[in-house]
Point group: C2
Chain length 346, copies 2
């Protein structure tokens, strides 16, 4: 409560206080903190002792202002409530932290306009680099970021045709491989529950992957019953119920993610449909819940943790070198064939 020698009101020690106490200039104190090896040991010890005694901790604003960077990396994810993002962010944050950087997360609720705002907000708050999900956003936004010199990386996608850097996987290919498995099991009447494909390239690619697989096997991809809905268990339930009223009834329902699939599975049970005897269901992501439901969910495993970690490494490198992220990295997904996929009813 009581400062020994307060001249500034809040009474917090400043660099100058430390300098005075350690009998050096403020420049030396600053160097001790930022590049300790540029200061001789004896001096450094003296300074650090003063820091300790005063309980000094640098003022963030001042540092950001003078150094023209904040040591903050921003990430905008669709929602914190899906375990896939939580997991990736956890890894992302750990890696950043190990490198002295701080993560600032915001969520967009899958709404492009909110994402736009959040990007501006994070940049205004001094994010030195940005992690975004997917590639789908306006050219103007990318120009804004480029003008600002903020390195950007897109996660969750890998598309050889897109020149912008990304860390992720080929959504289309992953879904195609899953779909091939479904078709191989004998299914001809497929249906899909997807997220809204506007402004969501991951969802769009997954739908495309399914259609590709269908076309390749001579099925009518254009006729695919497709419901676009929000990612939630409840929406998955409703969409599934709706699909089951179609004639002919689909024998396999491909879901855009595990959350939808779990909803579908639940509704199937409620409707008295046996899975996979009456209808097969697949997901995407391989979240924890996938192995907990009964029967366990056939899905695509995505290396979320690795994606988060590597995303951090790529942005750190960009920050360190001062060069925007140039390369894209493709991660592999793999199929997890579990209990919800079986042959169609005879």
């Amino acid at each position: 409560m009581n400062d020994d020698k307060s001249d500034t009101l809040p009474g917090l020690p400043t660099l100058a206080d430390v300098a005075e106490r350690a009998n050096v200039s403020t420049a030396t104190v600053s160097r001790c903190l930022n590049s300790p090896d540029r200061v001789v040991e004896a001096t450094r010890e003296r300074v650090l002792k003063a820091v300790q005694e005063l309980g000094y901790s640098p003022n963030f604003g001042a540092r950001a202002l003078a150094a023209r960077r904040t040591g903050t990396v921003g990430a905008i994810i669709p929602t914190m409530e899906n375990a896939i993002f939580a997991r990736a962010m956890q890894a992302f944050q750990e890696e950043l932290r190990d490198n002295g950087l701080t993560l600032l997360v915001a969520s967009s609720a899958y709404r492009p306009q909110v994402e736009d705002e959040q990007i501006h907000a994070l940049v205004a708050r001094g994010a030195d680099a940005l992690l975004l999900i997917g590639h789908d956003r306006s050219e103007a936004l990318y120009q804004f970021l480029e003008r600002r010199g903020v390195p950007v990386l897109a996660a969750w996608v890998h598309d050889a045709d897109n020149p912008r850097p990304s860390i992720g996987f080929d959504n289309r290919k992953a879904m195609r491989m899953l779909a091939e498995e479904v078709i191989r099991a004998g299914h001809r009447d497929l249906a899909m529950i997807s997220a809204d494909i506007n402004g969501n390239d991951r969802a769009r690619e997954r739908v495309a992957g399914l259609r590709e697989a269908m076309a390749a096997r001579g099925l009518d991809a254009e006729a695919l019953p497709l419901i676009q809905t929000r990612y939630s268990i409840e929406h998955g339930r409703q969409a599934f119920a709706k699909l089951m009223r179609r004639v002919p009834r689909p024998t396999a329902v491909i879901c855009g993610n595990d959350v939808l699939a779990v909803g579908a599975l639940q509704m199937a049970r409620e409707m008295g449909l046996h899975v996979p005897g009456d209808v097969s269901i697949t997901g995407f992501d391989d979240i924890e819940i996938a192995t907990l439901v009964e029967p366990p969910l056939t899905t695509v495993h995505v290396p979320h943790r690795a994606m988060g970690r590597q995303a951090a490494q790529m942005l750190i490198e960009a920050l360190r070198s001062g060069v925007p992220v140039a390369e894209s990295v493709e991660l592999q997904t793999d199929l997890r064939l579990r209990g919800t996929l079986g042959p169609p009813p005879a």
Copy 2:
């Protein structure tokens, strides 16, 4: 790429640029941005137009330095990977955002020392207020925060005996009520799987609640088999298996949270034990998974969203008034009696 009239290297417009263009002083521009009603309309329009045309956006560091606050609220949670925290943080963030504040989250992995570091880090980064989970931390830490003038609020707890402000529920009472239900069902051989109770007052209180209920019904609370382990499905599995090897075998396993309970449930199935015929299992939190497993989990419902929202409101009020949070708010939990609780085997 090309700035019309660059004098500073990065070429970003500053307050001064806007002022010049709008033909006013920098003070006026600043006022337009921060308290628009203190500027006459004609001027304001002129200024905002200039802001628009220049694509101006304020420098965060400079603003923080001059205003001595950052508009940032920090939160340190044990982990982002548990849905309960994700959900609460989502609500917390939304409420903050609606009030022009930004959330900075960090996670401590349930380790007090990491939490300590993170608190310092967030404060150093200019967090104007802090949300923490539980009350369990050193006096020194609280002193540090008080000295810094940072309002603090503890979530997830409500303890009438603790003078520090909190928003949450009475963990002990909630668990006691659940335990009473278990005992009422006829169980006498109880066992518990908990998180480590060191540095985790929520876990400690839940254990205490169970013991209270036992004592009240004449059971030997001291003899309660208690396994302390990390919150994860896998750890829940292992702990459950261990408990089932005891003689006499517990007929009801009370878990400190739903994640542990789901692990226990899974292991029960693997061991060929019928739930609740052979053994009853209960959780705590009522996360989404609780209703998805088979049978659905008996647990305690916690209003995570409301907690997050109200936490934000309380801190916002503290920030606005300049007075630390004084009151504590108690939220109600309620029992969700579902399929995993039944009478003990005959």
